[in-house]
């Protein structure tokens, strides 16, 4: 079965009790047992819930894994993966990782004696050089945020596996539609399900998918022992979102590409950062690695600096001024003033985040409406 068909059917089998075409939402926190000491399929909802299990089954299929685990947020999922490490272990992470992951690694994981260093993962040879004897995990994210840098997943896997280092990929930006890291040899795939998987700006969730049964069991133990599971209601909403994931992602990518190309030839724009443009440094790898699209995030620098960028993000009518991404509604933000405001100006410059940078998350609206909205904001 093709991806879209699996997203609708795998994990959503006909309910055996009622024949319901949509599986029921099971809210029970506990399950009655036949006898003492003899456990049924379900015992207590932290350890397993049929509705969450359905979502996990779908995600395992979409990412070509053996098992998946659903968490209460993306950060909870990342934390569970990081808990595979012990004191003295080293985690090597990409320079362009999500700020929340950076904070977790540097302010929480360090408390357990886990060491962390960062590397520019767009250069695979630098990744290889930065691995240490004690490295247990390589954490990468592609495309990166907000500059949409592209990391070669297969290249990183090769470098890391040569040293018996596990590779985890934050696959939130491309979603399983465009990139399936386990198929490229990665060990763990992570999603903020809040973004494209849920897709409607109304669920927080995180997903881990793995291709190895033993690793699955290790992570299941961590999840069950620490408890940050996804609720039954939210599992249902993510499952419902997955049914239109392929349609949404492909439509949003198509619009993003058209907007990127349109901005690229516009004299009011200094520079467009979009992996689908031939001038993007990661274009070649992205073309090989991503399945028929380059994502729905577009970053660009405008002529007129900080003030002009600020005026544009405040003048759009369809694009709404907010952080987050991946949903049906288009969003716009100015990293220097919003998502990366906590960095000082020099740090931002070092990361390549200029004052005139704008990041958009392209939603499902009609392309002509989105272009007209940006156009009027440029002129405003």
């Amino acid at each position: 079965m093709k991806f879209r068909t699996r997203a609708i059917h795998v994990g959503n089998r006909r309910d055996p009790q009622t024949g319901a075409v949509v599986p029921p939402i099971h809210l029970a926190s506990t399950y009655v047992q036949e006898s003492a000491g003899e456990w049924g399929e379900y015992d207590y909802a932290r350890s397993g819930n049929p509705t969450r299990g359905n979502l996990e089954e779908t995600m395992a299929s979409l990412e070509s894994g053996v098992g998946a685990l659903a968490f209460s947020s993306g950060m909870a999922a990342i934390h569970a993966a990081v808990m595979l490490c012990q004191a003295g272990d080293h985690i090597l992470a990409g320079r362009d990782i999500y700020g929340g992951t950076y904070r977790l690694l540097h302010q929480i994981a360090n408390r357990s004696g886990v060491e962390v260093s960062l590397v520019d993962t767009t250069d695979t040879s630098k990744v290889a050089e930065s691995l240490r004897e004690s490295t247990r995990l390589l954490w990468i994210e592609t495309p990166g945020n907000p500059l949409l840098s592209i990391t070669d997943v297969a290249g990183c896997v090769e470098a890391a596996h040569a040293h018996n280092v596990r590779v985890a990929v934050d696959n939130t930006f491309p979603s399983s539609v465009l990139t399936r890291p386990l198929e490229k040899g990665a060990d763990i795939v992570m999603h903020s399900a809040t973004k494209y998987l849920g897709g409607h700006s109304d669920v927080l969730g995180g997903i881990l998918v793995v291709g190895d049964q033993k690793l699955y069991e290790e992570l299941y133990f961590i999840q069950n022992a620490t408890g940050a599971v996804l609720s039954a209601f939210d599992s249902f909403l993510v499952s419902r979102g997955l049914k239109t994931l392929d349609l949404r992602m492909r439509a949003q990518c198509e619009s993003a590409m058209e907007i990127a190309q349109w901005l690229d030839q516009d004299p009011r724009v200094e520079r467009v950062l979009y992996p689908g443009l031939p001038g993007h440094p990661g274009n070649q790898i992205a073309t090989q690695q991503m399945d028929g699209g380059f994502g729905a995030m577009v970053s660009f620098e405008v002529v007129g600096g900080y003030e002009k960028a600020k005026s544009i993000v405040e003048t759009t009518k369809l694009f709404q001024l907010a952080v987050s991404l991946g949903a049906v509604e288009s969003l716009i933000e100015q990293p220097a003033a919003m998502s990366h405001a906590s960095y000082d100006a020099a740090d931002r410059a070092a990361h390549g985040i200029t004052d005139s940078l704008i990041r958009i998350s392209v939603g499902l609206e009609d392309i002509d409406d989105l272009k007209a909205d940006l156009d009027q904001a440029f002129n405003g």
Partner: protein, 403 residues
């Protein structure tokens, strides 16, 4: 009508494309607590600060909530979105498609009034008219579908409403909406089109001069086979009584359900493109298959109403009906039982593809004569194509047909 809120971009909605409407229409740009999505307001009742506030609410007819049966903030948002999608002034949401049509008929018809139907209509709608409205002295007349002269001939001074589905189910007959609307206008009779199978993505009956459009929102509008809802869209003035009677009869929708409908509508345009593509691909596959006798699909040149359909509809939806060559009802049932991906169930319009044999699912208790009258043959199968990959659907059907 729902009060326009500050900063609401609704004034732009008429210029927006269908997908932008589906995502944004009816919603305030700046929502409660600055959230990107609307809250689910579960409150059954709404408080007043003091007695004077109650009196002011009554005397000034203030646009605020009072009690859940009379309206709900979540409901107003979805009604606004549905009205925008159909190009209508206002929408009234009901607990189901049947609650919607019953609500409209009950509010428009008095004892002695008459209603004229095109005969290919949902059997429960027909049953309500012939078995229940008749008890209140309302007369129902049925004429052959798309026989406009017969419809005109059935109109007399007591006629209040002309009703049809378009496309009809399961034969997918397509009504010439402008002609239907014109007959109503010329005779001073209101018109209602049940456009559930078409959806506002493919046709907008109000733009053809129809007074009311009805949808079972359970189908394509909700789109995920996980809610029941019905809606009537039209001019605000004409719907005032419908809304008032709904408040008395109580067939309202629940706030949780309404949220699922709103969420489903966000991908409405996207889903419909795919339903249209899958319907067309499956219909073309079936028409070329040696075991298939006849395919009913408005997107096929062989369809009786292909001409009207191509002129008025943007696409033809996911419903495809076909008959098998030289097959009795059991041989037909065995094809239904062989498919793996399509699931055997009534209903349509969700992301999951469904299959049914009308004889078994909807007309099992009818006599053979009645079935012949309704055009339901023993060898007929109805498919509701979902949004899966069309190759998977076609492979599934090919395997079942080749058994």
């Amino acid at each position: 009508m729902a009060a326009k809120r500050e900063s609401e971009p609704n004034s732009l909605a008429s210029e927006w494309g269908p997908s932008t409407r589906a995502v944004h229409a009816g919603e305030a740009r700046q929502k409660v607590l600055n959230a990107i999505t609307d809250p689910i307001v579960c409150s059954s009742t709404y408080t007043f600060s003091d007695t004077q506030a109650v009196i002011r609410y009554i005397e000034e007819k203030q646009p605020r909530e009072e009690y859940g049966r009379y309206g709900n903030p979540s409901e107003k948002v979805v009604e606004g979105k549905l009205a925008a999608l159909d190009g209508g002034e206002e929408a009234v949401l009901f607990a189901s498609g049947m609650a919607a049509i019953v609500g409209l008929l009950m509010s428009k018809l008095n004892a002695g009034d008459e209603v004229v139907f095109f005969d290919e209509c949902y059997h429960r709608s027909r049953e309500f008219c012939t078995r229940h409205l008749s008890r209140f002295g309302v007369v129902t007349r049925q004429v052959k579908t798309c026989d406009y002269d017969a419809m005109e001939a059935a109109i007399n001074e007591k006629t209040r409403l002309l009703v049809s589905e378009s496309p009809t189910n399961p034969h997918l007959s397509v009504v010439d909406l402008s002609r239907f609307g014109e007959i109503g206008q010329r005779n001073g009779v209101e018109t209602l089109i049940d456009a559930t199978l078409a959806t506002p993505f493919n046709v907008r009956p109000l733009e053809h001069g129809i007074n009311y459009v009805l949808h079972s929102a359970t189908k394509y509008l909700g789109g995920h086979n996980d809610l029941l809802a019905g809606v009537i869209v039209g001019q605000s003035e004409r719907l005032e009584e419908v809304r008032a009677l709904r408040g008395i009869m109580g067939g309202i929708n629940s706030p949780h359900n309404i949220y699922l409908l709103q969420r489903g509508l966000k991908t409405f345009a996207l889903r419909m493109q795919r339903h249209n593509e899958n319907g067309q691909a499956v219909a073309e596959f079936l028409e070329a298959h040696p075991r298939v006798e006849r395919v009913y699909y408005p997107g096929l040149a062989s369809h009786r109403y292909a001409d009207v359909a191509s002129k008025t509809m943007k696409g033809f939806g996911g419903l495809v009906t076909f008959t098998l060559k030289d097959a009795d009802w059991k041989q037909t049932a065995s094809v239904v039982d062989q498919v793996q991906l399509f699931r055997i169930a009534p209903s349509l319009g969700g992301v999951e593809s469904l299959i049914e044999q009308p004889l078994v699912i909807s007309y099992f208790e009818c006599t053979p004569e009645e079935r012949e009258q309704f055009g339901i043959s023993d060898n007929m199968i109805r498919l509701a194509c979902g949004i899966e990959n069309s190759t998977d659907l076609i492979n599934d059907l090919a395997e079942a047909l080749d058994q």
